[in-house]
Amino acid sequence: MKNYLKPFVFLLLLWPIYIISYQIIFNELGPEPVDRIINHFGEWTLIFIILTLSISPLRKLTNSTEWIKFRRMLGLFAFFYASMHMLSYVGLDYRFDFEPLIDDVLKKKFVFIGFSAWLLLIPLAITSSDKMARLLKQNWKKLHRLVYVIAIFGVLHFIWLSKTIFFKPLIFLIILIILLLFRINFNKSDSKI
């Protein structure tokens, strides 16, 4: 049974891919399909980052270490969806036309911070293996604290690109704040993680 759990979760976490594939194949992307695809992957990236950050609190709340098994997978999926998000922006929307893209990154703060968040995800993805964790020892933990910066950047990215904070960006902001507050409490009570 245990052997099948991870592959099962893996297939489950591909949910956003099933959805968007269905919508592409059956022409259900709506009037602005490119925007739909970009937003789809963007929102799922945020959801996966939130899920990754929920593992530690879940472990505490349920007093079970089972959850930790899935954290790496969640994190890598966050990176995967972030890359799909960026690829659809760069490829579908701007056709790899880099001049306006560079202009966007430099001039528009929401693009700048979103792009920064994606760049910061790269070292975390590269060092996600057990081997790298062993290699980096204590530094691994420090490095992977970058996920907090990434999460904040990601939510700011969403807030800044929206015309108003109501309601989706606000919901993500509230969830993120709650998850960050969890960290403060835990660090005070029993110092390590």
Binding site: L14, I24, P31, P33, F79, G91, L92, F167
Partner: protein, 299 residues
């Protein structure tokens, strides 16, 4: 056509990680992306090809009914548009209150006009309507009047979006008098030969084709002539981003969206962005209104 290997555009980590199933999904998405590579940027938009009725009536920015594009279509179904009347007041010799029936009895004509949203997309809509000047000529505007203000109905019972402080309700928009008197400034009573759907601003809205869409107020109950520039809704919410004029201008970027190009609603995912035209393509008709003005300052 330029060919990329899949491994060149996908981060290696992901490329290696995916199992065969994911690979095939990734390939199909990647293939779509690659197909679209011809870096031809389309030329001027075709002003004649109307967007489908379905897209026009299901993809709306109408925050009174919610901030999602599909919200107005879903939530405006039971919006009450009768009885309805519109007051024209302020700096006028003969203030008026017109019932919607009186307004609808004015002869409407089909006007195929392009809508450019500040968010960077556009539609071509076959509106039914008449020039606002026809209404304004009835009230005799006083010489002191410099601006005109449009007020949307305040009805939080039916307009659920108005229950939240997304904008300062009721929605206020405005124009300079000469802009309001321009024949292209249209009082809209319908689209596609039918009466105006609720989600598009029934029973009565304004449409100014050379300005970003949010300038065109919906479900109007009051038109007021004023001396001072109206405190319009989006300018009020974020003055740095939304100016009073808000003319479509590819050379003045919004802080968040490039205004140089736009996506055409209803096109496939493979269709490229098109270039945005000065005054949304109505430069010949309206540029004279702004001669001598710095449009970068007066955005």
């Amino acid at each position: 056509m330029i060919k990329f290997k899949h491994s060149e555009i996908t981060p290696e980590k992901i490329y290696n990680k995916r199992r065969s199933f994911v690979k095939s999904m990734g390939y199909s998405l990647g293939a779509l992306t690659l197909n679209s590579i011809p870096l031809i940027n389309a030329n001027a938009s075709n002003l004649n090809e109307a967007t489908s009725y379905e897209d026009i009536t299901t993809y709306n920015n109408y925050y009174e009914f919610g901030t999602g594009k599909g919200d107005p279509h879903r939530r405006a179904k039971n919006f009450t548009t009768r009885p309805w009347s519109v007051k024209i007041e302020g700096l006028v010799e003969k203030p008026l209150e017109l019932s919607i029936e009186e307004i609808l009895s004015i002869k409407s004509e089909e006007r195929i006009l392009k809508l450019r949203c500040v968010e960077g997309w556009s539609m071509v809509i076959p509106w039914l309507g008449f020039s606002l000047s026809e209404l304004l000529n009835k009230v005799e505007i006083k010489p002191a009047a410099k601006f005109i203000e449009f007020e949307t109905i305040y009805n939080p019972e039916e307009m659920v979006g108005q229950r939240y402080p997304v904008l300062n309700w009721p929605y206020i928009e405005g124009l300079r008098i000469d802009e309001a008197m321009h024949p292209l400034t249209t009082v809209v009573t319908g689209l596609y030969g039918k009466s105006l759907p609720n989600q598009n601003g029934a029973p009565l809205r304004i449409f100014i084709p050379w300005k970003y869409g949010f300038k065109s107020a919906k479900a109007i109950v009051k038109i007021k002539l004023t001396e001072k520039m109206p405190n319009t809704a989006w300018k009020n919410a974020s003055p740095r981003e939304y100016g009073f004029y808000s003319n479509v201008n590819p050379n003045v970027d919004h802080p968040r969206w490039s205004q140089a190009t736009e996506r055409v609603i209803g096109e496939s995912i493979l269709a490229p962005r098109i270039k945005t035209l000065m005054f949304n393509g109505y430069e010949d008709e309206v540029a004279h209104l702004y001669s001598g003005m710095d449009l970068k300052k007066n955005y």
